[in-house]
């Protein structure tokens, strides 16, 4: 008991010092430096053109129109967030379904059917796996180059432009692996679609 009385005040003071240091000073210093050096990135990498915001280049949006590049399957969540008037606002999450189960098997089969119907030109070509699966965040902003290429002709037909023009835009917003080794090649779906619409130049 004697020892508890002697140690307790030290423990409390130490916790307060650390709270100040790690919980106040540290995050504030990081925020200050970040806002000074990287204001765009620190605030969500928002794409803003002529004062209109089109989304974050890091967060996926769902596209279903034939004239757009489609992204990953999104597990849309409309119940978590609302705007100031109480209307539901889109967010997304993971499916957390086992890839070895019947439930996902059926879902994937439906997606395959839908995608095949929209891409008659592809016939029985196998569909790249990222087009029929939900990502980890549900908000994956990217698609693989193979999945983008699969859709090129459909987009070209819907827009009445050449496949080459679509491909050019896809290539423009394709990023290679980091240092040529790490991670995977990605196509930014939102950027491609904004470019297709002529908004992003």
């Amino acid at each position: 008991m004697e020892k508890v009385k002697e140690t307790a005040p030290k423990a409390l003071i130490f916790l307060l010092i650390m709270t100040l240091l790690c919980g106040v000073v540290f995050p504030l210093v990081v925020t200050g430096i970040s806002q000074l050096l990287f204001p765009r990135q620190a605030n969500g990498s928002i794409i803003e053109i002529d004062r209109k915001k089109y989304g974050s280049e890091l967060l996926g949006q769902q596209f279903t129109g034939n004239e757009y590049l489609w992204g990953r399957v999104m597990n849309i969540d409309t119940s978590t967030f609302t705007d100031s008037e109480g209307n539901p606002v889109m967010y997304a999450g993971a499916s957390n379904k086992t890839p070895a189960g019947e439930e996902l098997e059926e879902l994937v089969a439906q997606r395959v059917e839908k995608i095949r119907a929209a891409h008659p030109n592809q016939g029985d070509t196998p569909i790249p796996v990222d087009l029929v699966t939900c990502s980890g965040s549900g908000l994956d902003p990217h698609i693989s180059p193979a999945a983008a290429e699969y859709q090129v002709q459909r987009i070209a037909d819907a827009r009445g432009i050449s496949a080459e023009q679509v491909r050019e835009i896809v290539v423009k917003y394709t990023k290679g692996k980091f240092l040529g080794v790490f991670g995977e090649e990605t196509v930014n779906v939102l950027k491609v679609n904004l470019a297709l619409d002529g908004i992003l130049k």
Binding site: K3, V4, T7, K10, A11, L12, F14, L15, I17, M18, L21, C22, F26, V30, T31, L37, Q41, N43, G44, K53, G55, S56, L58, L59, F63, T78, F81, D83, V89, M90, A94, S95, N96, K97, T98, P99, G101, L104, E105, V108, A109, D124, D130, V132, C134, S135, G136, S137, D140, P141, K177, F178, V181, F182, E184, T186, L190, N193, L194, D197
Partner: protein
């Protein structure tokens, strides 16, 4: 395929390359030797000692050291608990989030005080900026530092002779936070922001969707939310301190938490950096580098095997995904292929699998892909690493002291075989140390088996499951393995926010954190009193290949005997169902 293998190899090699110099640096800091940052930081360090009225040279006995660690954790617990339930009345809450329920607060608090970071909530929709910053970020720093401090008390127990002092808990904590955690986190945070991790105090943005969407019930949704907050400063320490609690619900799979392959490399390396470095620190500070390398190699061998199994299974995907060839799951030609359910395009298979194996090896528990959606055997490996007691590198400090517990067990078993009193690092291992080592090694299996057993018997647990059948059982088993290994990752479809789950998981996290910690300090307290015994022909060398093999054997033996039946009901059963 070969490109993926190159990624795996480079990730591991770069990790070790960074860990070796860091290990030496940590060793110097903890001995109070001069380092590069001493000139800048020593005034701050001395200031802290002055405010606290402590003598940094104080030599606490193990009981005082333990008491300091426990009291400090209790105060941390109280403050974090209050922040959770009272956040609705406190500032820095632009989303006007209410206080959490008492049982969720208990769970979250236990989780962050024990360096587990199990999350039964989703950060962006549950916790205010104040709670995340003043509560969680602080516990991320101090719980990590506590684990490292206890490791150094144990190291001193082996080096020092015939005394009872293990050093000052307060000086150890101060040095770890000031010289190691804060400087690395500062650099890491800024680098992460430069890649697109958010760092601000603004309210969430709502932005018009380019193409409005129609929800299932027919409502048209025209806007999306872009969450904000002081994320980078919390993410750096959640990785470096093997904490793992995401700022956002989906953790480092979230593009605003981990935007690209470079940020991923930083976060993923950070999560295993200190546990690897500490192996080299250990060898340096006990003045026998070979001992540290032996433990490092035992851990590395297990890690590489786990990486190979998980990587191969995720790349192979499942028949359910490939749909008789209608879906292209092959790697190459512009895609990563494999099991992409729950994985991000920018990470693909190799980078996701490496993270999954690192994070469950390290008791970190952050994820960049959803383990619930891993293939049966790929997911089983992540579970198994936690069941082995988080000693394949493990959490900062606690992973290594857990492994030293197994080393004591190993020399004891070897001693039994040849009929000699076992020794480790020149000190005799006697019944008292054995009892304590058994507590270190068995706390995790006992907690996991009792916890998951109880939960499985309760009918209401069924409602928390997200998948039926064997995979549903795996979700329960994973939850308790995660708690029992102080890991914190999840098969995240499992809804853990119920009274029973919050309480049982919370209690297990406290049990498996503090029982092994106190037992480790007791070993340190007993060893420090002993004299060194001279090495002779009968001494079992603990730095050669034979011992590395023996150590791996003991770790796997305890794990396999404890968990094979449970794994057979979960992932193994699912694997055979998958083959149909």
């Amino acid at each position: 395929m070969s490109e993926a293998v190159l990624q795996y190899i480079l990730y591991v090699v770069l990790l070790i390359g960074l860990a070796v110099p860091l290990g030496i640096y940590i060793g110097k800091v903890m001995n109070g030797e001069k380092v590069l940052l001493t000139r800048v930081l020593s005034p701050v360090e001395r200031g802290i000692y002055k405010v606290m009225h402590i003598d940094p040279q104080e030599q606490m006995n193990w009981k005082k050291y333990a008491l300091s660690a426990v009291l400090f954790s209790i105060f941390g617990f109280v403050i974090l608990f209050l922040l959770n339930i009272l956040q609705g009345f406190l500032p820095l809450n632009p989303q006007h989030l209410p206080g959490t329920s008492w049982h969720l607060a208990f769970n979250t608090t236990s989780s962050f005080v024990t360096n587990t970071n199990w999350q039964a909530y989703s950060g962006e929709s549950t916790l205010s900026y104040l709670t995340q910053m003043l509560g969680l970020t602080v516990q991320n720093f101090v719980s990590a530092a506590t684990g490292i401090a206890v490791l150094f008390a144990l190291i001193r127990g082996f080096i020092k002779v015939k005394t009872d002092g293990l050093g000052s808990f307060w000086a150890d904590m101060t040095r770890i936070i000031l010289y190691i955690l804060i400087p690395i986190c500062l650099v890491l945070s800024i680098l992460l922001v430069s890649q697109g991790v958010v760092q601000n105090f603004s309210p969430y943005e709502t932005i018009d969707l380019v193409e409005p969407i129609t929800a299932g019930d027919g409502t048209v949704i025209t806007q999306m939310v872009v969450p904000q907050g002081p994320a980078a400063s919390q993410i750096s320490i959640k990785q470096l301190g093997t904490n793992g609690g995401g700022f956002f619900g989906v953790n480092s799979a979230h593009p605003l938490e981990n935007p690209n392959a470079f940020s991923n490399f930083l976060e993923m390396t950070a999560l295993l950096l200190i546990p690897v470095a500490l192996c080299f620190t250990f060898g340096r500070n006990i003045k026998d580098k070979r001992q540290g390398i032996a433990i490092f190699l035992a851990m590395l061998i297990m890690l590489v095997v786990c990486l190979a199994v998980t990587g191969a299974n995720e790349a192979a995907a499942t028949p359910q995904l490939s749909q008789n060839g209608a879906v292209d799951i092959t790697a190459g030609a512009g895609q990563a292929g494999g099991n992409m359910e729950g994985k991000e395009t920018r990470f693909g298979i190799a980078t996701s699998a490496t993270w999954a194996v690192y994070t469950t090896a390290a008791s970190n528990g952050s994820v960049n892909s959803m383990h619930d959606s891993y293939t049966p055997l790929g997911g089983m490996i992540t579970m198994l690493q936690m069941m082995l007691g988080e000693v394949i590198f493990g959490g900062v400090g606690c992973g290594l002291y857990g492994m030293i517990g197994f080393a004591i067990l190993a020399v004891f078993i070897a001693g039994l075989m040849v009929g000699r009193t076992p020794e480790y690092l020149g000190k005799k291992i006697e019944p008292y140390e054995m009892k304590m080592a058994v507590m270190v090694c068995l706390a995790t299996p006992v907690a996991i088996l009792i916890g998951s057993g109880l939960a499985t018997m309760l009918p209401e647990t069924m409602q928390s499951l997200n998948n039926p059948g064997a995979h549903g059982f795996s979700e329960i088993l994973y939850a308790y393995s995660s708690a029992g290994g102080n890991n914190g990752s999840a098969f995240a479809g499992f809804n853990a926010n119920t009274v029973f789950l919050n309480l049982s998981i919370g209690l297990i996290m406290l049990f498996v954190r503090f029982v092994p910690m106190l037992a480790t300090l007791a070993i340190a307290g007993s060893q420090v009193k002993k004299k060194k015994v001279a090495q002779n022909a009968g001494t079992l060398p603990t730095h050669n290949g034979l011992f590395i093999f023996l150590l791996i054997f003991v770790v796997l033996l305890v794990g396999a005997l404890s968990f094979f039946p449970a794994l057979a009901l979960g992932p193994i059963a699912e694997y055979f169902q998958m083959l149909g």
